[in-house]
């Protein structure tokens, strides 16, 4: 009884029928400017993109804007960069998610379990990479860490007598995965650490009495407790990682070849390096479709997780 009354009180369900009754009331009138603005902001670019994607629109050949149907889409999908770009996007998103979630869980568990002085400082340090601009951190990685001559890693390699690795040239995608993971790991730690603090201490004590060691407690109590925050981390990171651009632009410029090009970078490449606005628009729409496919899966998986608990 009590739970059902609480539920109805917190959900906006009872408010809906009232809204439906006086649809053309002052409320509707008052929110209309912002709704209209949002709609224009969204629909105009989308409409223009749709329009551009169906015409020939190359900035190098002005005035020849005839309708070409789905030709731009065909060209984009058959572009030699499309397949590697799509694969790279998936690899990038998948690996960064994997690294940030696994390391994030482990590091926050370690931080929660260990009791040492200066924990607050360590926490701030762990979270600080998140506050650095992507272009800045990418440049720091490029010039101070990955650089084959002046980078720290090169110095380490030389110290052990090995040939320094030109990371961005030899392992471009891996390098970008490392940079982006370094940026997004703090976000995962931030969310997971706060979630871990909310784990009921009495549950842990009950598990200790039940004979569970630290690993069993982690496996049977902590991880299930973290299911929801992990879902949140995955969802938010996916949204941002699908459109990853600055890190690639400042480090490898998508190269060598298409080795570190993702879809966002490919679209940029079409629009602003080849000046083919029509094809870039087609690519943008394809990216929207791909992002939506990912979103459907994510929301299925996470939405279930969010409502289930």
């Amino acid at each position: 009884m009590t739970t059902s009354t609480i539920k109805t009180a917190t959900t906006p369900a009872p408010a809906q029928p009232r809204q439906r009754k006086r649809r053309i009331g002052p409320g509707w009138f008052l929110v209309s400017p912002s709704v209209a603005l949002l709609l224009i902001w969204m629909i105009v670019p989308l409409g223009m993109t749709l329009y551009f994607s169906t015409i020939r629109y190359n900035l190098l050949y002005p005035g020849e804007n005839e309708f070409v149907g789905l030709e731009n889409f065909t060209f984009f999908l058959t572009d030699p960069g499309f397949f590697p770009g799509a694969i790279n996007t998936l690899l990038l998103v998948g690996s960064v998610l994997f690294i940030s979630v696994v390391l994030g869980v482990l590091i926050s568990a370690l931080l929660e379990a260990a009791d040492f002085g200066g924990r607050g400082v360590v926490r701030v340090l762990l979270i600080s990479p998140f506050f650095i601009m992507p272009t800045v951190s990418a440049l720091v990685w490029k010039n101070l860490i990955f650089h084959p001559v002046s980078g720290i890693l090169a110095a380490v390699w030389r110290f052990f007598g090995a040939q320094p690795v030109d990371w961005l040239a030899q392992h471009p995608l891996l390098s970008i995965i490392i940079i982006v993971s370094w940026q997004w790991l703090p976000f995962a730690i931030l969310i997971l650490m706060t979630a871990m603090q909310s784990l009921d201490q009495e549950q842990k004590e009950a598990a200790r009495l039940d004979g569970a060691g630290p690993i069993a407690i982690f496996w049977h109590l902590t991880l299930p407790h973290l299911a929801r925050p992990i879902a949140v981390v995955i969802m938010i990171e996916t949204i941002f990682l699908l459109s990853l651009f600055a890190e690639i632009f400042t480090t490898t410029s998508g190269g060598p070849g298409y080795a570190s090009t993702n879809l966002a970078y490919l679209i940029y490449n079409q629009a602003l390096l080849q000046f083919d606005v029509g094809m870039a628009s087609a690519g943008g729409l394809i990216a929207v479709v791909i992002a939506n496919i990912a979103a459907i899966f994510l929301i299925r998986m996470i939405g279930k997780n969010l409502t289930d608990q």
């Binding site: 039940d210 004979g211 299930p224």
Partner: protein, 367 residues
């Protein structure tokens, strides 16, 4: 068998002593209740027994086995927490079988133990539910079931009923008492509610500020409190206290002159040299009689009355300003502000010396 012996147990947190030396025996099949005001260390004592806190000094042994430094899981104890501490993502069945699964007990044995516990606690239809789908009382029963399947030597309860509403609390109290008899189990139970302590316990341990004030059966504590603290803590409404001095003492008893304005002869042994020492007289609300003003031992001014139907608790104030509560059966007209005469039942009075220790009555000493 489950005989728990605690010897000179001490526990401090960062130099601040919480448990200041406790000696206690818990015998097999006993229902022992730790009771005391909040902050008296009763929960800490239970957690020390469970092994969730490290002992500063002293020993705990169970059946001659020293378990002072044993890990919580190997002590053969099971604990029921105040918040139940059920594992939220596991079904009721899994919650109960968790300890057995960890101990790698065979599937069939786990199955039969869980089913047996579910039968005792009437949890059968709920076994596949998650804790959040259960009511408070059902969660409580699952928490108890989780303890039962482990077949522990001693059950530990940390204020298990304080999260339930009043009606359910009464019902669960009865179920716990029944469970204790059915399982023939040894139980240690922590509560701040003296009604729970009185109704459930074979043995009540009254704690205050990290020390044991008195150990005894509920009625022993009620009828023969060892000191002022126990006298004031056990019994609702509280025992009334009247300050006075011993005015005459001999072998037959002693006469106390109360500040409230009367002399009363009590059957207490006191040395003649005790004359003039300050004492406190304690009297339970049911042992005070009410008469008209001037007709009793002394007069008081009536304050408000609480009518419960079966009884009326009439609050009064003596001429020296000391509050007293009187328990009057049945109907009692409202006497707010009026002057009443009171009579005290001398045989039922308790007498405490200046240190708050009880001065025992004559008959008891002779026996």
């Amino acid at each position: 068998m489950a005989d728990l012996k605690i010897r000179d147990l001490k526990k401090g947190f960062e130099g601040h002593a919480v448990i200041k030396g406790i000696d206690l025996d818990v015998n097999d099949r006993e229902f022992v209740v730790f009771v005391g005001p909040s902050g008296c260390g009763k929960s800490t004592l239970l957690r020390l027994i469970a092994g969730l806190e490290e002992v500063t000094s002293g020993t705990i042994s169970l059946d001659e086995r020293d378990i002072t430094d044993e890990s919580p899981a190997r002590r053969d104890l099971a604990m029921v927490f105040q918040t139940y501490a059920l594992y939220p993502h596991m079904t009721v069945r899994k919650n109960m079988s968790f300890a057995l699964d960890l101990a790698k007990v065979g599937k069939q044995e786990v199955e039969s133990k869980v089913n047996e516990a579910a039968r005792i606690l009437e949890l059968g239809p709920l076994l596949e539910r998650k804790p959040k789908q259960l009511s408070g009382g059902q969660r409580q029963r699952v928490a108890i079931g989780r303890a039962i399947v482990r077949n522990p030597k001693i059950f530990l309860f940390d204020e298990p009923l304080s999260n339930l509403d009043a009606a359910l609390r009464v019902q669960m109290r009865l179920e716990l008492a029944r469970l204790h008899k059915e399982l023939k189990a040894t139980m240690i139970y922590v509560t701040h509610d003296q009604v729970e302590a009185m109704t459930l316990a074979d043995k009540v341990v009254v704690l205050s500020a990290g020390r044991i004030e008195q150990v005894g059966s509920p009625l022993e504590l009620y009828h023969h409190p060892a000191n002022l603290f126990v006298a004031g803590f056990i019994g609702t409404p509280k025992m009334g206290f009247l300050k006075g001095t011993i005015s005459r003492a001999d072998a037959s008893g002693c006469e106390v002159e109360l500040e409230a304005g009367c002399r009363i002869i009590l059957p207490r042994a006191a040395e003649a040299s005790a004359v003039g020492t300050p004492v406190t007289l304690g009297i339970r609300p049911e042992h005070i009689g009410v008469t008209d003003a001037g007709a009793g031992s002394f007069d008081v001014t009536a304050d408000v009355s609480e009518r419960l139907g079966s009884d009326t608790f009439c609050h009064v104030r003596t001429t020296s300003g000391e509050p007293l509560t009187i328990r009057i059966p049945g109907d009692f007209r409202d006497v707010y502000g009026e002057c009443l005469g009171l009579t005290l039942d001398a045989d039922r009075c308790h007498l405490f010396d200046a240190e708050g220790q009880a001065i025992r009555p004559l008959m008891r000493q002779a026996a």
